[in-house]
Amino acid sequence: MSPTDLAVHDGQATSSRPRTVNDFSIQVATVNGSGSQTANLVLLRTLLLMGIPASGKNMFPSNIAGLPTWYTIRASRRGYIGRKKDVDFLVAMNPETAKEDVLTLEPGAAVVYDEPLKLNLLRSDLTFYPVPFDKLVAPVCPDAKLRRLVRNMIYDGILAKLLGIDRRLMEQALNKQLGKKAKAVALNAAALAAGWEYAEANLPKQDPFVFEAVPGAPQKILIDGNAAAAIGCMMAGVTVVAWYPITPSSSLCESLIGYMRKYRVDRATGKATFAIVQAEDEIASLGMVIGASWAGARAMTATSGPGISLMGEFTGLAYYAEVPAVIFDVQRVGPSTGLPTRTAQGDLLVTAFLSHGDTRHLLLIPASVDECYTMAMQAFDLAERFQTPVFVMMDLDLGMNNWECAPFAYPETAVDRGKRLDADTLKAIGEWGRYKDVDGDGIPWRTVPGDGMPPFFTRGSGHNPRAQYSERPDDYVQNVDRLRRKFETARGAMPAPEVDVAAGAAVGFIAYGTSHWAVAESRDQLREQEGLTTSYLRVRSYPFSGRIAEFIDAHERVYVVEQNRDAQLAQLLRLELTAAQIGKLRSVLHYSGLPIDARSVTADVLAQEGRK
């Protein structure tokens, strides 16, 4: 049941840890549907207001209410925002998991728990803080029905007192979180105060964990990747959105609906400069996107693995008939329904080649919320420029968890609508054919209904450069060879990898997406604790940049880190590498559904390096 990959501890001698400032993790164990999300976000937001780098990860079940949920907040002085495996401070609110939650803690950890659970009897090497939540909540919340929700703010108050958080900052965070709901703010503020006061009167500080404000820290926003991508779509000027609900992608479209209603309704007329349709399934979603893009709109959909599987046939059509489409794949654990609320990078191979026949698609792979925003905008430019589907490969960890980030920059460049035929171009090129490669880059000129330019017949069956039906072998070969040429042109236009080559390093890392955060931290661990200096290349797109092969050439061993069983990126790389390059690749794989963490990467690399 527990989403932990830690071993149970026997708990012998109490190891008193040294004072730990701004560098530990807090886990809140509750049941879902109990309204703990507000309390957790208020806590996270408070840390941000204090200038402490922090991230929050929600591990939740595929269920609406009543099953165990864990929310982990990690504060890191050095700005590591990936998952940390061990929990330093536990808030045990769920009787069902409390025992296991306590037994898996490292010695020296601290536990705030609901008094009747008597968790203090389980171990002697931890610090325990019993809190009578029911007794505390009754006086501040007369309405018994609301108590279950308000109860959670009490642990925020307790934590604030125990961890040295400025109470007024937490109230400020509460106000921000609940916005205009004055009654809810008052109720929660009272609970917060009750927790604080109880801790002050009854819980003398015994653990080493404290927060201290970091003066002069830059202002950060707190946002999940789905909302970040939604803002990017809106700024890209998306006009048609079709979607079908699926975790973990739903909130991308739901955020988008919220933003579009606020910022994309014409002031003068009160009418929408967009259409968002909840389609009957993912096949229809992509069909609508294709129809809209074909008619000249910027259109998108968002889904997860099961939806990607359904989109196969239409993706092949868009590829072959050369219709733009932007598809966000917020990956979750498959195959089939898999673990629908857990994270993975398992759709790389299926999307790269989605559909039957010879197909290849453009992939963008964001690692941060900032890249969710910028790559959302790039996706539309690339889709229109290359007249083809573009997949933005996010994952549940990135899409649904909250990440801190510098505020997004306003886009300074206009959008790229690609090769759209106009009267001047028509004159210049003479005879136009929809699939004629006039410029030698594989990208033909396009017309759309209603633009006054020559019409053509779009089809998924064989066609010649003039878009006429053709079953001629030479027409077919020329056409798919041109598509290949177009793909090669795209290779040079995709976001380049981020490369950090360490002088003299024999070992390199390759990673992508959210695996980045664990790798960045693991490199520091390897260097500082093991004296192993490494280089790093972060892949940001497919087709791959030539710099990946150069990077492999420059190192003796290259660890490809990814969150799937089958080393999907490594497999995709192998298709383009020489035998010598392939021989250098090693894999670090993590596929439990929990976000990858640095310690696991470090341990795996050390083992493969023969060092441990």
Binding site: A272, A297, P407, G460
Partner: protein, 342 residues
């Protein structure tokens, strides 16, 4: 023989409405329907460059290549034309969409998208070229095959058919009609009325497959359909741009005004029939099925229901051509969003 130069109200000749040469079998009902589509668009004076032709996969779905050659066309994937049409109309609401499907394309693989298209009342003319079989894959039964109908190769259908008109009426289509590829006059009137309507037009046209389903024992053969066709009313269409009045005796004819001001005159034949009465329309379909007859004509119409575009409260201009400054919020907007996230 010199033919006088004939043009329509926007100055185009009939040739401007022609498409490529058909590659379907000689005598296929689908070809007759293409011819009526050409005539209807010509006579209505529709600018072909504002039309989009869509289809799924099948012999029927090939036919958009054979009419309106100067319109954009999109031959999508099997059964999924409704979604492509929906996207296209959302992108550019000033277009006029006509989709052609088959009874397999609609009733089998595409029934899901068909059902949801009907619910949305998207402005589109959706034509089913209904032959009770899969022509392109050589004559298997389709879901509109009647109980007891026999395949050329001998198999007999025992499953109840899907009545696409019943479905469309129940689900919210605002113009539902059934016709026969062999009834030129009725089909032409209905197609012209379809062009004048705003909302989903569902037009099921019996269209015999002369190669695989035109034999004795088939209920979708030319002879069988002709014999069992029961015309429910005589349809006369008067376009908004023609100043014609139809004389009729009181109580014999129902008049319906369409979205663009055109008028339909429905002269009663035999029984009372009111195509604005949903319950009556459904009852008629049930009764005719029981009698083994095929009711043709305008079965149901609801001229004023808001279409999908109106329901979405979209701006009047096509979304596809909105300039960047109207679709990219300004700096203050992004600053406000960022501020809320601090």
């Amino acid at each position: 023989m010199a033919t006088p130069l004939k043009v329509n109200r926007i100055g185009l000749e009939p040739a401007a409405y022609k498409g490529g040469k058909t590659t379907l079998c000689a005598g296929c009902g689908h070809n007759a329907i293409s011819e009526r589509i050409v005539e209807a668009f010509y006579e209505m004076g529709v600018d072909p460059s504002r039309v989009v032709k869509l289809s799924g996969i099948g012999c029927s779905s090939k036919s958009p290549a054979y009419f309106l050659g100067s319109a954009h066309g999109f031959n999508a994937v099997h059964g999924r034309m409704p979604s492509v049409g929906t996207g296209a109309m959302l992108a550019n609401r000033s277009l006029l969409a006509i989709g052609v499907s088959g009874d397999g394309d609609t009733g089998a693989i595409g029934i899901g998208q068909f059902v949801h298209l009907m619910r949305r009342n998207l402005p589109i003319i959706y034509v089913i070229e209904d032959n009770g079989c899969y022509g392109l894959t050589k004559g298997q039964f389709s879901p509109t095959a009647d109980v007891g109908s026999r395949l050329k190769t001998g198999g007999v259908n025992e499953l109840p058919p899907i009545d696409t008109c019943t479905l469309a009426i129940q689900l919210g289509a605002t113009f539902v009609a059934r016709s026969f590829s062999g009834d030129k006059k009725q089909l032409l009137s209905l197609l012209k009325a379809a062009i004048a309507h705003r909302g989903t037009v569902m037009l099921d046209v019996l269209s015999p497959c002369v190669t695989f389903n035109d034999h004795e024992g088939s209920t979708k053969s030319y002879a069988y359909v002709k014999e069992h066709d029961r015309v429910i009313e005589e349809v006369t269409f008067v376009p908004f741009f023609e100043d014609i009045t139809i004389e009729h005796e009181p109580g014999t004819t129902q008049e319906v005004t369409l979205h663009d001001g055109s008028k339909l005159f429905l002269r009663k034949l035999g029984e009372e029939y009111d195509p604005t009465d949903k319950g009556g329309a459904l009852q008629n379909l049930l009764d005719s099925e029981r009698r083994g007859e095929i009711s043709t004509g305008l079965l149901y119409i609801e001229p004023d229901r808001p279409d999908f575009i109106e329901q979405l409260n979209m701006v009047d201009e096509p979304l596809a051509t909105l300039p960047l400054e109207r679709v990219r919020p300004g700096r203050e907007a992004l600053a406000e969003i960022m501020d809320a996230l601090l």
